[in-house]
């Protein structure tokens, strides 16, 4: 089967907005390494990145950074 019917779905897939059945169909297709759709999913990630930048920023509590650094020093 071709992949024209998946053309408009890549951004919604990366946003996690597709129904499970549709997301599974696109995932299965991508896992077959369709070059066109892999290029499209990379392009879609740029749009998802852009959309993420339209939120307000929120400054984390400084203690969180110290906690993060402590936790990662315990990781291999």
């Amino acid at each position: 089967m071709g992949c024209q019917h998946l053309e408009d779905l890549h951004e919604l897939f990366l946003l996690g907005a597709l129904s499970d059945a549709t997301a599974a169909e696109l995932r299965d297709h991508l896992e077959r390494h369709c070059a066109f759709c892999l290029e499209r999913i990379r392009e879609a990630a740029q749009t998802v990145y852009l959309l993420s930048l339209t939120t307000k920023t929120a400054r984390p509590n400084p203690k969180l950074k110290l906690l993060l650094l402590r936790r990662l020093r315990k990781k291999p």
């Binding site: 919604l12 920023t57 984390p60 993060l68 990662l72 990781k75």
Partner: protein
């Protein structure tokens, strides 16, 4: 870390790949406020958003070497992985409440459609685990978006209202198509068409602005 403070996100990623914890701290300083803003819009509490933020930076610590070797954009990697971390937490919250027979009190305005599956790991999450880098844009592609960011943000704001409203629910609340249909009281097919129109609107304008306008539009 005076030197690292002047480095770009990609240069810091290369240092993180060599197990430089200070570089990860610098990367955190650069990108965490943006990620926490997004996570706070998706998750029902600040504490959950902060936990998700920690998780995604810990995962970056584990995957930095591969991401750096493959030449993927660390900014894009963090944004998409932060999103799927939040979506997995929302799914787990739904599953826990469904099993307990409780309404989703932590999400007071959110209703869940009948027949929605409560799998603890989303299909997106599984895809990112199996194909961890196939979707990651190149740093230069993200740099082009960053360079025209002000104009691109204006374009997002110019989106027709029904499309913008549906897309906001997907982007900032983590709603699926079915949940958006229920939230808006609209037929599923109409919401699906509206979301796709929103994405087409954005894709065409982004291509035009960042200079990758494709012939197959």
């Amino acid at each position: 870390m005076d030197v690292a403070a002047k480095l770009s996100a990609q240069e810091l990623l290369a240092r993180v790949a060599e197990r430089d914890a200070g570089a990860l701290g610098e990367l955190y300083d650069q990108l965490a406020p943006r990620l926490l803003g997004m996570l706070s819009s998706m998750l029902p509490s600040r504490s959950l958003a902060e936990e998700a933020l920690q998780d995604v930076f810990l995962r970056l610590w584990s995957e930095a070497r591969t991401l750096s070797q493959e030449g993927g954009s660390v900014s894009a990697w963090l944004v998409v992985n932060a999103r799927h971390t939040a979506l997995d937490r929302l799914r787990l919250d739904r599953e826990r409440r469904a099993r307990a027979g409780k309404s989703p009190a932590s999400l007071p305005t959110r209703k869940f459609p009948e027949g929605n599956s409560f799998s603890p790991k989303s299909i997106l999450s599984a895809f990112l685990a199996v194909t961890p880098l196939a979707w990651v844009p190149r740093p230069e592609e993200i740099a082009r978006v960053d360079a025209r960011l002000e104009l691109l943000q204006k374009i997002v704001q110019q989106m027709p209202n029904p499309q913008g409203q549906a897309l906001d629910l997907a982007v900032f609340r983590g709603f699926s198509e079915a949940e958006i249909a229920q939230e808006l009281g609209e037929p599923f097919a109409k919401v699906r068409a509206t979301l796709r129109a929103a994405i087409t609107f954005l894709r065409h304008r982004r291509r035009a602005v960042v200079g990758t306008w494709a012939a197959n539009i």
